[in-house]
């Protein structure tokens, strides 16, 4: 029987994506919680010497790193169960485009918006709003980015649905609201309502407390 381990962190949206994918495919795995913000374990450094980050999937002893690449690997390796990527080449290219866009542009900019201050924050807020408008447009009349059911783009957009909402509230911001982005607002509700998603999210109070502590530490350090 194949041995599957996932090195991640209870609060990370990036290892969260991999967990959703593995559960969607019905793959049994062992989750190893790494306290990555404080410590890089020897095992993690052994399996991901280049980037030293989670998530890392270890399949039969071989490490697979970088969350988008891990998702493709999962889709290719476990062919039974729902596909993460569509079969049609053009649809696949679109999914890859949007997941790259989310990871390289949206997530870092939204994250930066919450953690920066002053002029830098104003600039990040503007950029975030532009990016969210693009995503709003992409949803058009679809329930999910993947159409009628969740696909890889929805899973990769998980940060927006949950983590960003908590962060923006803690930062006292209202960048993503239902009024400004009705389709994204509806998507968030539908996405978080899916059993496979809601049963696997980190607890809201634990995540909020964790981020609040980090905000306070950052504010203290800035003084």
């Amino acid at each position: 029987m194949a041995e599957v381990k996932l090195f991640g962190n209870w609060g990370s949206p990036f290892s969260g994506r991999i967990e959703f994918a593995l559960k969607l495919k019905g793959v049994e795995y062992e989750f190893i919680d790494e306290d990555i913000y404080n410590y890089k374990s020897p095992l993690l450094l052994k399996y991901n010497p280049v980037h030293k980050k989670i998530p890392v999937l270890v399949h039969n002893g071989k490490p697979i790193c970088e969350s988008l690449v891990i998702l493709e690997y999962i889709d290719e390796t476990w062919e039974k169960g729902p596909s993460l990527l569509p079969k049609d080449p053009y649809e696949r290219a679109l999914v890859r485009f949007w997941t790259k866009f989310l990871d390289e542009k949206c997530v870092p900019t939204l994250w930066k918006t919450c953690w920066s201050i002053g002029e830098e924050q104003e600039k990040a807020k503007e950029e975030s709003t532009e990016l969210l408008k693009i995503l709003e447009g992409t949803l058009s009349d679809k329930k999910f980015f993947g159409g009628d059911s969740i696909g890889m783009v929805d899973i990769v957009a998980n940060f927006i649905s949950y983590w960003f909402i908590i962060l923006q509230e803690l930062a006292g911001l209202q960048v993503l609201t239902k009024e400004k982005f009705p389709k994204l607002g509806a998507w968030i509700d539908d996405y978080l309502n899916c059993n496979i998603i809601k049963e696997n999210l980190p607890p809201k109070d634990k995540l909020t407390a964790y981020f609040r502590a980090r905000f306070e530490a950052a504010a203290a350090a800035a003084k």
Binding site: V69, P89, A93
Partner: protein, 233 residues
Amino acid sequence: MASCVQLLGASPSPYVNRVQMALKLKSIEYELIEENPHIKSERLLKANPVLKKIPVLIHDGEPICESLLIVQYIDDAWNNGPSLLPSDAQDAYLARFWALYIDDKNVDFQWYPLYKELREAPTEEARKEVLDKIFEGLVLLEKAFLKCSKGKQFFGGDNIGYLDIALGCYMGWLKVIEEMTSIKFLDRSKTPGLAEWAEKFCSHDTFKEVVPETQKLVEIFKMVQGRGKPASG
């Protein structure tokens, strides 16, 4: 029915070259529509409204953006010629991982920024620091080459594949930088596998018939430097 394939791009761009290499390996006929990377045409903005960048492949009217994604699309959509990505999931993972690394803006080793940093380094010490980063990255890629090639001549094995294209597209500009700095980056004493690979790759038609000659690139470089704009697209 013959399909209509157009490529919006500029021939000195390594990212455009990636797509051209993939099309050539699959024997796909296409029309190259030269775009000025610094002046965004209406046609480009329509084809790539989100990122507004070249290359864009337009296949029967549908646009596909982002060079590595286009290469994967070409591999998915056409069956002619050998696959660009390995069929084994583990090997495909390695190809994707290292291609991402080569393009990653968040790692210390990044082609263009590092070479620019090298040129602009104010002191000998700063210059050495940048050079160290470049060579560290190349040593990692040497290890990747040994793992992926499994003793064969290319990252893809006997045939040029996805990772060969991802890295090989830069070889033209690398030669320009080597000429300008008088530094040999792909040094047989440090990275013998990569040095040998580069020689084989650059003598292959896939490279020779796609990437402009070094002297032409040097001219473009000097002209663009004169205008004060970055050389790469």
